[in-house]
């Protein structure tokens, strides 16, 4: 495993932005995770070698932050917020519905490798809950119908554009 030429250029630039190369641990891990979908042991070794730091330091980072994953997951990872505001507005119903539609439990991946379902803590979208994150994209104001449609769209490769929040008005 190696960094691509474009990535190497980016690394050279990043090195000029921090006084200590160890600071590049998170940026480089993001770089790999974006490309590969997860951060393998091989990737850990690559980052440690690039930054000339002990491997365990990189492993600590991979395991401590909740967004880095060590193993390949579904093509789409559905991360549904189950924190306070979303919970009050019915996130559990949305989660249950996803489980039913995809026939998986929280933490599992569909057999076709398409979807992984996870519950996560508050994602800063409490005014537009229930909500979930898929990759870089937030899906807000979810209910059973809407989430089903989103799964369908994701499966069909239909992109959703990310827009600033649009807050609802309730009766």
């Amino acid at each position: 495993m190696d960094f691509t030429d474009a990535e190497k250029k980016e690394i050279a630039y990043l090195r000029t932005r921090y006084p200590d190369p160890r600071s590049l641990t998170l940026p480089l891990m993001w770089m790999i995770q974006k490309r590969e979908g997860f951060v393998s042991n091989e990737a850990v070794d690559l980052i440690a070698a690039e930054l000339e730091i002990p491997t365990i330091w990189v492993e600590e980072v991979r395991s401590w932050y909740s967004m880095f994953t060590e193993k390949k997951e579904g093509k789409f990872v559905l991360e549904v917020c189950n924190n306070i505001s979303c919970a009050m507005l019915g996130s559990q119903d949305v989660i249950d519905h996803i489980c039913e539609v995809l026939k998986i439990k929280v933490g599992e991946t569909t057999p076709d490798g398409m979807f992984t379902l996870k519950t996560v803590e508050c994602l800063g979208s409490c005014g537009t809950g229930p909500m979930m994150q898929v990759g870089d994209r937030y899906y807000e104001l979810l209910d059973e119908n809407k989430v089903e449609q989103i799964l369908e769209d994701l499966r069909n490769g239909k992109e959703h554009e990310q827009k600033p929040q649009e807050w609802p008005e309730y009766k």
């Binding site: 042991n41 850990v44 440690a48 002990p54 491997t55 365990i56 330091w57 492993e59 600590e60 395991s63 401590w64």
Partner: protein
């Protein structure tokens, strides 16, 4: 040095500026319980066992992270502080297994001891404990039990600050955290790995050589000095029924702090196979008295033709008598040698900037103090001599093989095999004495185990002197040291 005065529990104490509160208290007879703090590591302030209250400070403060300040008023014996300690112990214990009956640390466990001293309360925790890996092999030398681990991070800091291998880290977060090595790594090539087991406050890190071998309260601890190199790390040799069960560093700020290297330790744990035994002339066992008188008359007769080769494993007290002997006889050909040299093939480290020294013998400094005029054996002119007393192993065969040899050594080597006269000597664990390390620090050690089928060199020199009609400077280590 600047000093500051503060008040602890109503008592005024004065300590050097910059002293940490936890140490300032301890130096003045007030012991503050702790887990993560270790006086030879940077404080991490995470276990919270050492919290104390400081007047004008709204929150209890970790005494291990707080430097003393002039006029500080500290309380360590209030009900509030007592309650904090109980609470920290309760928190630690909620996810701690009840392993004491099968835990090697029982009897010297900081958690057990501090629980007895500062709590004793029954746990109010009735939930499910977090289950973790109980047998994680950190290589062949060390085993980790994540359930027993209290996450004090001492071991992580040891690999960061002492051995500088940075091998250990803590993965995951919250109460799922555990100590780990990088994937595929082991602690086997960390030259100070066993230190993590000594300094783990609980039984989470244990050395495989000692696992389930013996309860610690049955072990007899003897203060000794490692003979592995010229650092002279202070150690405890722990024995039962004349067998070494365990070796651990003995704290000494000036020499080895709280550490020792694994080579030194394994030297005692896995005793060398090539131990010399018995007393022989012409390879036949003889009576010790006969040996002494034959050697005495040989030396007396051939003084000028005898080379006297010193051992850097010799104790200072033995050297004193050896000097008395050679001076009395007028032996001039005196040489020193390296009894043991670095051998790359064993994986041993040549030298580092931590403890390990290139001189792999414990008392070259003592040899040079006692015999400042001794020459290096490599400069010996063979034709000058017909006889040689070779003391200790490691003499170059080409220098001595043509001579008639009297070998006094704890180890068998090629020179031993070539000798006409053989007397098996003792290793430092088997005797009393002192070594002088490379910095000139002289340190006493006590006998931890009895020698078997071998002879104390000190007694041999006493007997030799007596045979020659000379009154020895002393008959015991104590007498010789007092005579100086």
């Amino acid at each position: 040095m600047k000093e500051v005065t503060l008040t602890v529990d109503g008592k005024k104490i004065t300590v050097p500026a910059g002293t940490l509160l936890i140490d300032a208290c301890e130096q003045n007879g007030i012991y503050i319980p702790r887990f993560c703090y270790h006086k030879h590591l940077f404080p991490s302030g995470n276990c919270r066992m050492c919290l104390v209250t400081i007047e004008k400070n709204p929150k209890p403060q970790p005494s291990c992270m707080t430097p003393v300040a002039d006029g500080m008023v500290v309380h360590t014996n209030t009900p509030e502080v007592a309650e904090i300690r109980k609470a920290v112990l309760e928190f630690i214990l909620i996810n701690h297994p009840l392993d004491c009956p099968i835990c090697d640390k029982a009897g010297e466990c900081m958690l057990q001891d501090q629980y007895m001293e500062f709590s004793g309360d029954k746990s109010r925790f009735n939930e499910t404990k977090v289950a973790k890996e109980k047998l994680y092999h950190f290589g062949e030398k060390i085993v980790y039990d994540a359930e027993r681990c209290i996450l004090c991070s001492r071991c992580v800091r040891i690999t960061r600050e002492v051995s500088k291998t940075n091998k250990l880290g803590i993965l995951e977060r919250g109460d799922r955290s555990y100590v780990a090595l990088a994937h595929g790594d082991t602690l086997d090539d960390d030259p100070y790995a066993y230190c993590v087991t000594d300094n783990c406050p609980v039984g989470a890190l244990t050395p495989t050589y000692f696992r389930f071998k013996e309860r610690v309260w049955y072990l007899h601890k003897t203060p000794s000095v490692c003979a592995g190199c010229s650092r002279g790390c202070n150690i405890w040799i722990e024995t039962k029924d004349n067998v070494i069960y365990r070796v651990r560093p003995r704290e000494n700020d000036a020499v080895n702090k709280s550490w020792m290297c694994d080579f030194g330790r394994e030297y005692y744990i896995y005793p060398p196979k090539n131990r010399a035994a018995g007393v022989k002339i012409n390879h036949r066992a003889v009576d010790y008295g006969k040996f002494v008188s034959e050697v005495a008359s040989l030396l007396k007769e051939h003084t000028k033709e005898t080379a006297f080769v010193l051992s850097a494993y010799a104790t200072n007290e033995e050297l004193t008598l050896a000097k008395q002997l050679t001076e009395h006889l007028g032996i001039k050909g005196i040489f020193h040698k390296k009894d043991r040299v670095w051998q790359e093939s064993t994986g041993e480290i040549r030298e580092d900037d931590i403890l390990i020294k290139e001189d792999k013998t414990p008392n070259m400094a003592g040899v040079k103090n006692a015999f400042p005029d001794a020459k290096d054996i490599n400069d010996m002119v063979i034709s000058d001599f017909k006889y040689a007393v070779v003391w200790g192993p490691g003499a170059p065969l080409d220098k001595v093989s043509g001579l008639e040899l009297i070998v006094i050594s704890a180890m068998v080597d090629q020179v031993w095999d070539k000798a006409k006269y053989n007397l098996a000597g003792r290793i430092s664990a088997e005797k009393h004495g002192s070594f002088t390390n490379f910095e000139g620090i002289t340190q006493d050690f006590r006998r931890a185990i009895k020698g078997e089928n071998n002879y104390d060199e000190l007694t041999f020199f006493v007997d030799l002197l007596k045979e020659l009609g000379v009154k020895p400077i002393g008959r015991t280590v104590q007498e010789i040291q007092n005579a100086k």
